[in-house]
């Protein structure tokens, strides 16, 4: 069964992801921005599978959902490392 709050979160994630893609050119100046996109896409996919598991293959999609979350958190962690490294090299100014 689809839960409304899960569906709302998924739609909000899709909205935020669209915003990232639309503004890709401007956000490119943020070091390692591709990592954010990948991480957030995986996070959104996690919510997609959360919604889907309410309809079919609950156990399979639930596992995939949690795998998406771990991949998302790893890429996000890599992004923080990239960002920290770039900052140390003075390659990035405050708020660009």
């Amino acid at each position: 069964m689809i839960q409304e709050d899960e569906l709302i979160t998924f739609i909000l994630c899709l909205g935020a992801l669209s915003f990232f893609i639309i503004n890709y050119a401007k956000l490119k100046s943020l070091p390692g921005f591709r990592m954010i996109i990948i991480s957030f896409t995986l996070f959104t996919m996690g919510w997609y599978f959360t919604v889907i598991e309410g309809i079919i293959f609950e156990e399979v999609f639930n596992l995939i959902e949690h795998l998406c979350y771990i991949c998302s958190s790893i890429t996000m962690f890599i992004w923080t490392l990239i960002f920290f490294k770039k900052r140390s090299g003075n390659e990035f100014n405050r708020d660009n």
């Binding site: 915003f19 596992l63 795998l67 405050r94 708020d95 660009n96």
Partner: protein
């Protein structure tokens, strides 16, 4: 603990580590509002992953009831983080555009000022020469001096040509950065001296260039530099024989190895109070003494080589006996 519980445990730990990086490592990296939204992102996702871990590892289900509502904040915080970042970037771009427009306006004014002043001056000199010729047309004896007047006209035309070439060069220097490479000093000097002698074939000019050769870290604009210095030495010289001696030697300053080039002339010289002013660019100049564009151009080019330029008296304490233009250019 089942597989999903283990996965969620690692997800939570990794997210908390990322949050720690944001809190500890990024001092002054973002504006407060951008940083705050990023912290909210990590806090909400950490809470969501913690709740997942507690639920799937069978420890507690206390957070499940509010888990999804907190999770809703995560995409909103992401959106806000990127939105504030873009806003700041737009503000910065706008400031930069405004700055470049102001700079372009300043340069337009500078070029306008340059042409209205110098070209008018050149045209007035030519007009004056024309008036003299006209007056002398009635006097056969005075017509003998006409070649001098024609020389004056020719000099003014050359001055105009030089001005146009300098403005073009200055504009090019401003527009782009020219790569610096190894330049053979003697070949540049040979070429320049040859050009100058052709240009001023009616004047008696002696130019000595150094015998020893040096390699400099510069580019093709070096020719313009020597041309400008030599033209100035010729124009501002009242002697029958114009003498310019160019010396070159190694010179170390602040751990940098330079080649010191001295261009010593027997011209009218430069008084002490004008020595610094002659290098002031028009855009820096307010109501100060006006000089030709040449020396400000030279200064700009030399600075682009990380070099230095200044002027001294040929004979210390007596500026009227000529000038010594000293250039320091890094050795290759």
């Amino acid at each position: 603990m089942n597989l999903i519980g283990i996965i969620d445990f690692f997800v939570f730990i990794i997210t908390i580590s990322s949050l720690s990086f944001v809190l500890i490592g990024w001092k002054n990296q973002f504006s407060i509002i951008t940083k705050l939204s990023l912290i909210i992102v990590f806090l909400t996702t950490s809470f969501f992953y913690l709740s997942n871990f507690l639920e799937w590892s069978g420890i507690s289900v206390a957070l499940v009831s509010i888990e999804d509502y907190i999770a809703i904040l995560a995409p909103l915080a992401w959106f806000f983080f990127t939105y504030t970042f873009i806003q700041k970037k737009n503000e910065k771009d706008l400031r930069e555009n405004q700055k470049s427009i102001e700079e372009a306006y300043r340069y337009t004014e500078f070029y306008k000022d340059l042409f209205t002043h110098d070209i008018r001056n050149i045209l007035q000199n030519i007009l004056l020469a024309d008036n003299i010729i006209e007056q002398r047309n009635n006097d056969q004896q005075k017509l003998e001096n006409l070649p001098e007047i024609y020389e004056l006209i020719k000099e003014q035309v050359l001055r105009g040509e030089n001005l146009i070439s300098n403005v073009t060069n200055l504009s090019e220097i401003r527009k782009s950065s020219f790569p610096i490479h190894s330049v053979d000093l003697n070949s540049i000097l040979d070429k320049t001296v040859e050009n100058i002698k052709k240009l001023y074939d009616h004047r008696n000019i002696i130019i000595q260039i150094p015998e020893q050769n040096f390699l400099l870290k510069s580019n093709d604009f070096l020719t313009n530099i020597f041309e400008n210095i030599l033209v100035n030495a010729i124009i501002h010289n009242k002697n029958k024989t114009i003498e310019v001696g160019i010396k070159a030697s190694k010179y170390k300053l602040n751990e940098t190895q330079y080649i010191k080039i001295e261009c010593i002339d027997n011209g009218v010289g430069i008084s002490d109070n004008r020595k610094k002013e002659i290098f002031i660019t028009r855009e820096e100049e307010q109501s100060k003494f006006r000089t030709g564009l040449g020396l400000s151009l030279i200064k700009k080019v030399i600075e682009s080589y990380n070099g230095k330029i200044w002027v001294e008296d040929r004979v210390k304490g007596d500026y009227t006996r000529g000038s010594n233009f000293i250039l320091l250019i890094p050795e290759d």
